[in-house]
Symmetry: C2
Subunit: 211 residues, 2 copies
Amino acid sequence: MERKGLLIVVSGFAGSGKGTLMKRLTGDYDNYSLSVSMTTRKPRPGEVDGREYFFVTKEEFERKIEDGGLIEYAAYVENYYGTPREYVEEQIAEGKDVVLEIETQGALKVKERFPDSILIFVLPPSVEELYKRLKNRGTETEDVIRKRMSRAAKEADTIEKYDYIVINDKVDECVKKLHGFIEAAHYTPDRNEEFIRSIKDDLEQLWKGEN
Amino acid sequence: MERKGLLIVVSGFAGSGKGTLMKRLTGDYDNYSLSVSMTTRKPRPGEVDGREYFFVTKEEFERKIEDGGLIEYAAYVENYYGTPREYVEEQIAEGKDVVLEIETQGALKVKERFPDSILIFVLPPSVEELYKRLKNRGTETEDVIRKRMSRAAKEADTIEKYDYIVINDKVDECVKKLHGFIEAAHYTPDRNEEFIRSIKDDLEQLWKGEN
């Protein structure tokens, strides 16, 4: 039975731990490819072009938009962020499940254009825990943390539009759950039309009308 | 996070091995209850009332229909077969996932009345393999086997209405897949409204408007 690659979109509040989950998921199982976003923002220390992001100029990004080379894109704080189409389509054609980690508005745009994509929302066990995690990072000011929590409040309005939610309590269990959702999605009838057709054809030709 | 019990409906051609899968699934994991059907046919040697079926008279069955005590029922070869409502509802209320093994027409009726139920179709690896399995049982005449294959040809028309298909090649893998489908179904947003509501409320009360 041939297996079609799927487009998986993962979102979650800042501090939900989705980055760690994505690294684990794509590391633990070999059916995944993690899509790398394109951005016009400058690389931070330690970030590598083609690993964290493809770093491009504003002009290069806008040319990409015009060429239809992005699955989705958005502008934040004067920078563009987007998902290059080519890599995603190549990987899916090879039967890989491509994982995009993008924010909620981008995710909903992807679902609109690719109704067959699977949207997963990573949630913290509680709002209190989310706040604690952001606080414990120790890298953000209280003001930045407030902004992130406020943004989470807005993003939460989109949860019902996702296909699955997962609560990031224990990372190991969470990664297994994510993998389970994606595995299950491979076994819907609409994703196995060829196999179903072959069973139906054989039954039809050999056995229909026998009674 | 409270976990709601789900109604799981499993169908498959005669010879697809769904009976074995159901026994393994409900034996290997403790979140399942296997629903026992009610019938007016006579018990076969070795069959126990309340285990294979609840064996009742035609009058008892018809009273059950009138009382609305069956989730679905059908008549075959002068006998009634149906799913008693009470047990299913009790088990779901206790958080159990109740598994019904019923034929395709009954399954579609259940989906109509309980849109939240999960329908799974068990398929053989091939039609040739299905025929071999029926043949190798050695209990049915060639004529009965032909009837079963012909019936399979008709039942195949309903596959697309199921939520998932599973190919019964290796039993162990197949049982794990079934369990995976059902686990995944527990994590859709509509089945976790309470938890999502609590996250939204906390974010709204504590953080909305902060900027």
